[in-house]
Point group: C2
């Protein structure tokens, strides 16, 4: 049994804890894969995919944070493959969640459920006020069509990937990892804390570069700036926040290696949830803007998509505010 320290300022946690963590995550990965392959009626395939992604992300994160303690060539070659697995398997669920978020927002904005079943009557002679409701319904139907198609494609791509040789190679690597972790000779007795602290420092540095003062002033109208700009990617302002989201995740995973699952920091969780919401709203806003570029849509549909886009950009701004609030109460430092 490796060392586990519920106390956040423990003595040294060594490479052996890292090896145990990697073996445990690899075992989780293989268990999820078996669950998915066995399938059968009533099998929770979505849950199996989520578990696969969960362990792939954690293995990949540890390979990054604790790289100096691992066989360098091996770690360098495995990480992009795990990222590919995790990314490929994430798409289907992401499209489903994006559609749900957008339909819920349309529902909130229109006061009526916006489901494809609500879309008929589109051809009828609508009064001017009726057109607004029709616009919301048509926007919902359009998003449903586009995102369901994307979801279906992502589903097929994930199935193809899981059946392919590239994935089999990853699974073989993970199976080996479940048995033996390629630590460097010095790693077993090495202290993990400096590497975990370095991950925390990278996070802290990235947070420092965020416009947190501005984000802390509500209604700063920052997220929607240039929302109608001709720039094809009008929101480069989102990128540093997405980057912090990834660094926060790496920091959280490093904490798991050092302290186990049982030391969850509710403030870190809140900050992470705010950044997830930021990412989701950002992508939903982009999907609404893209849908508005569909040729030959009715002006009422385009109008509803414009309102929806702006609504999601304000969600982006709200998420930044929420992050700033939770981060203000953080004690994360570089020590």
């Amino acid at each position: 049994m490796a060392q586990r320290h519920p106390d956040p300022t423990p003595g040294a946690v060594t490479g052996e804890a890292l090896a145990e963590h990697l073996r445990a995550q690899a075992t989780e990965f293989l268990r999820a894969l078996r669950l998915h392959r066995e399938g059968g009626p009533g099998a929770d395939l979505d849950g199996a995919v989520r578990a696969l992604r969960r362990s792939a992300r954690r293995i990949s994160g540890s390979l990054h944070t604790f790289r100096p303690l691992l066989d360098a060539g091996w770690a360098e070659s495995v990480r992009p493959e795990l990222a590919w697995v995790s990314g490929t398997l994430a798409q289907e669920q992401a499209y489903a969640a994006r559609l749900e978020r957008l339909l819920l927002a349309l529902h909130r904005l229109s006061g009526t459920p916006v489901l494809p079943a609500q879309a008929p009557g589109l051809g009828g002679p609508a009064s001017e006020r009726g057109k607004v409701a029709v616009g919301a319904a048509k926007a919902g139907a359009l998003l449903e069509r586009q995102l369901t198609l994307a979801r279906t494609r992502a589903h097929s791509a994930a199935l193809r990937a899981l059946a392919g040789s590239r994935f089999h190679a990853v699974a073989d690597t993970v199976a080996l990892l479940a048995g033996e972790v390629p630590l460097t000779p010095a790693a077993a007795g090495a202290d993990l804390r400096p590497l975990a602290a370095a991950a925390e420092e990278r996070l802290a540095a990235a947070v420092t570069a965020l416009p947190l003062v501005r984000a802390g002033h509500p209604y700063n109208a920052e997220a929607l700036v240039h929302g109608l700009s001709p720039d094809p990617s009008p929101h480069p302002q989102d990128a540093p926040w997405h980057q912090v989201r990834l660094l926060l995740r790496l920091h959280r995973y490093a904490r798991e290696v050092l302290h186990g699952d049982d030391l969850t920091d509710v403030r870190l969780t809140a900050a992470g949830q705010a950044l997830d919401r930021h990412r989701d709203a950002s992508e939903a806003a982009t999907a609404a803007a893209q849908a508005a570029r569909t040729p030959r849509i009715a002006p009422a549909t385009a109008y509803a998509l414009g309102v929806l886009h702006a609504d999601q950009r304000h969600e982006v701004e709200a998420a930044r505010y929420a992050f700033q609030r939770s981060w203000g109460r953080q004690t994360v430092g570089t020590s």
Copy 2:
């Protein structure tokens, strides 16, 4: 010279101070009217109209708040006429300000100045990304056309009103008021403070009825709720805020009667500005939504108007937040 009390808890201020205030405002009204009629090159006609409205509002407000001290039949007959003057003269400036607000917002949203001069090239073969910029430019041109037309009509209506018999009757009444104020027999020695306090109580009661707790939580997404609803007036939620704006103005005018102009409460000013912003953004959002119902507009134009509408509804929400913040620091009570 009537009593003036820079101290907010003064001794009695009597009806004579009210009479002096009304005479002074009536004199201001007549001076502004003369300025407007003389006209000539370089004359500040807009300034004259503003001064006319300013004194009309103050006379009307005092007639309301201190009604028991004034000849009842006279006050009842004059107030609606003053409201008509103030309302009729306000329209031109309101349309101009609304257009400016919307064009500034489009500029902020598109990153480029949105002026009619930017609208050419509309017929050219635009790429998908170009359409967004074209959408903003076309939306700006459409709003410019519609609001300039409305402004021109309001200008003509104001000129017609100023030349008509109804206005002449008001001017005659105000001219009489500048000489003699029709106080009731008991009014000259009566204390104004209970009536001013009643105005403050009406304000406090109306504020209490506002959803201030919700408004104090930023990004509550309240202002845009039902923004795509088929309801022709989807924002009845704005009405109580507009009502508080009017009651705040009456309270401010009553303070002017009691203490003169020199006792301005910066917090009251901030609250009033937030409510002005609330009203302006609410009406700008409505104008954007109305423009989107123009027949045969391009989808890109409708999309830009949808973004603009949502942007202004978030301004509404921001204004409520600002009001809540300034009001939280208020010491206004019923004492």
